[in-house]
């Protein structure tokens, strides 16, 4: 469904994403995990062609269902955005336009891509609001964003992304800005919608708990690269890249951890990688680092669908 290879994004002298490859299959939930600043969101925006002015995108391939997105004009991309690819963002409080009603913002995307009467679009909007778990859709349609809570706004955003029945939904940290109790609800909703509608879902998160609950496939990003990609069970059972291992080791697991026992964090912090950097971006923090890590790192395959970027062999 979505096939990205060698994606690079740079902002002036800083390369935020260098060489990300990613495959999202039909009807699959693919989680992209990593620390803040590792390039997850930039990757998503680059796929959508929504990077800010001044950002430079290069890639070997960005394919969507047989279409080469790299070759599309902005107008052509606009026909896919909102219609076949939906996107929701991290900031529900500011992602809706404060000046227009929920109804207006939902129907405009439908009428833009599908045409039809206002009444038909409104009917579709009400149905989708119900589908995303909003009670009294009729009332909500006439309201403005400031009259809704954060959780409700994110549900509106989800409904908006689904108005045209997309094949792919990109969700960029959709629960990060919400209360914990609301997070669970939004997550359940996304998982349910993905299954019911047969969506391909690219879910960006830094929360491994989320990954464990909803993902089919997981890609772990570090400093602008995907360092490991595996089916969710394999990733948790056999993490292979030292960064993935460190990430899993730093998550507190109730029952497994004795009182007073310290967590096992990864030493150091995410470095800023210059564009001409060669080798493994993790080597300065890695306990297995060796001289060979300073030259190009091979992509190894541990099992079908489980690849990682490291000199080590398991």
């Amino acid at each position: 469904m979505l096939d990205v290879a060698g994606l690079r994004v740079s902002f002036g002298a800083i390369e935020a994403v260098h060489g990300v490859s990613l495959r999202v299959r039909h009807g699959e939930t693919h989680c992209l995990v990593g620390e803040s600043g590792c390039g997850k969101s930039v990757t998503a925006l680059a796929i959508m062609g929504l990077l800010a002015r001044g950002a430079r995108r290069r890639a070997e391939r960005i394919g969507f269902d047989g279409t080469d997105l790299l070759a599309l004009s902005d107008r052509g991309m606009g026909r896919l955005r909102g219609s076949r690819i939906g996107m929701i963002f991290q900031e529900p409080m500011t992602s809706l336009n404060p000046a227009y009603t929920v109804s207006s913002q939902l129907t405009e995307v439908y009428r833009r891509h599908r045409g039809g009467t206002r009444a038909a679009a409104t009917e579709r909007a009400a149905a989708l609001l119900g589908r995303v778990g909003i009670s009294a859709p009729g009332l909500r349609l006439g309201q403005f964003p400031h009259q809704l809570s954060g959780g409700l706004r994110q549900r509106v955003m989800i409904a908006m992304a689904l108005m045209c029945d997309p094949d792919l939904l990109i969700a960029d940290e959709p629960t990060t800005a919400l209360d914990v109790t609301v997070q669970a609800g939004i997550l359940r909703l996304l998982a349910a919608l993905q299954a019911e509608m047969g969506l391909a879902l690219l879910l960006i998160t830094h929360d491994l708990g989320v990954v464990a609950r909803v993902a089919h496939q997981v890609s772990v990003m570090y400093a602008g690269e995907v360092v490991e990609s595996a089916p969710v069970a394999a990733l948790f059972a056999r993490p292979t890249h030292p960064y993935t291992q460190g990430l899993l080791a730093s998550v507190p697991v109730p029952g497994k951890l004795r009182r007073g026992q310290p967590l096992d964090p990864i030493p150091g912090s995410v470095p800023r990688i210059p564009p001409d950097f060669v080798g493994c971006g993790f080597r300065e923090r890695c306990r297995f680092a060796m001289p060979a890590c300073a030259v190009a790192v091979p992509l190894r395959e541990r099992a079908p669908g489980h690849s990682y970027l490291c000199q080590l062999t398991p």
Binding site: M48, G78, R81, G82, S95, N97, E108, V109, F144, Q147
Partner: protein, 305 residues
Amino acid sequence: MRRFILRRAILGVLVCMTVLVISFGLTRVAGDPALAVAGPQATAADVAAIRRAYGLDRPLPEQFFTWVGAVARGDLGRSYLFREPVANLIRARLPITLTLGLVGLGFALLIALPLGIVAALHEGTPTDRLVMLVALLGQAMPSFWLALLLIIGLGLRLQWLPISGIDDWTGYLLPGLVLAFSAIPALMRLTRSGMIDALGSDYIRTARAKGLSRASIVLKHAARNAAMPVVAIAAVQLGFMLGGSIVIESVFSLPGLGFLAWESISKNDFPVVQAVVLLLAVIYIALTLFADLLNAALDPRLRTG
């Protein structure tokens, strides 16, 4: 919303009362109208008689309260100079100034809004800098000088537009254009900065993620949110234009309110000066209230918040 309007109305009345005191006070220190009315050949006795006739020999507080009482009843007094009720003088001239102000505002918006939007869309590029330079030049150019340039260029050389008087609507075009120029820089800057803010916001990213057309993103989603400070400043600018058209009206010989104010100030015609100042204050207050209402219509958060 109703409480908001009520509060603004009370505030408006207070401002008017302050204006009454100040305009009364300032005209009293400005000079003696009896001298102007009596003329250079008048004797001291003539001047004294005129003072008595107009009540200028009464103590100041008494004059003030007599005047305020009359204003409260809707009587603006009689002009010393024109020997006519002030209300008649104003009624004849106000429409000219209002028309001129609206034409000026119309020109200003027509020029400033598109330029501001273009500058915002090209932020940081040579296009942006060129537009801002034009704004700076507009701000730096005195309006009487611009008026003369336009009179020479459009009026005398090309003979496109009449250069003085108002025989028909074309008479308003040149003075309106000159008046607009003073308002353009502020409007354009605000449009530009408001649009830059709006275009960088999360809801514009959402609009792009929805695949909306560029026109819809810029004109519907961004412009609506950028409009509020522009509306507020446009109202203030219209106030400036109405009150500050003195220079323009005299350059183009338009018999408007500004022209009347200038004449009556130079002749110490107190009742007219006071009435014009009061009228402008009322217009100003009404304009800002109108701008607030317009903003409430634009931004739902102000209506229900």
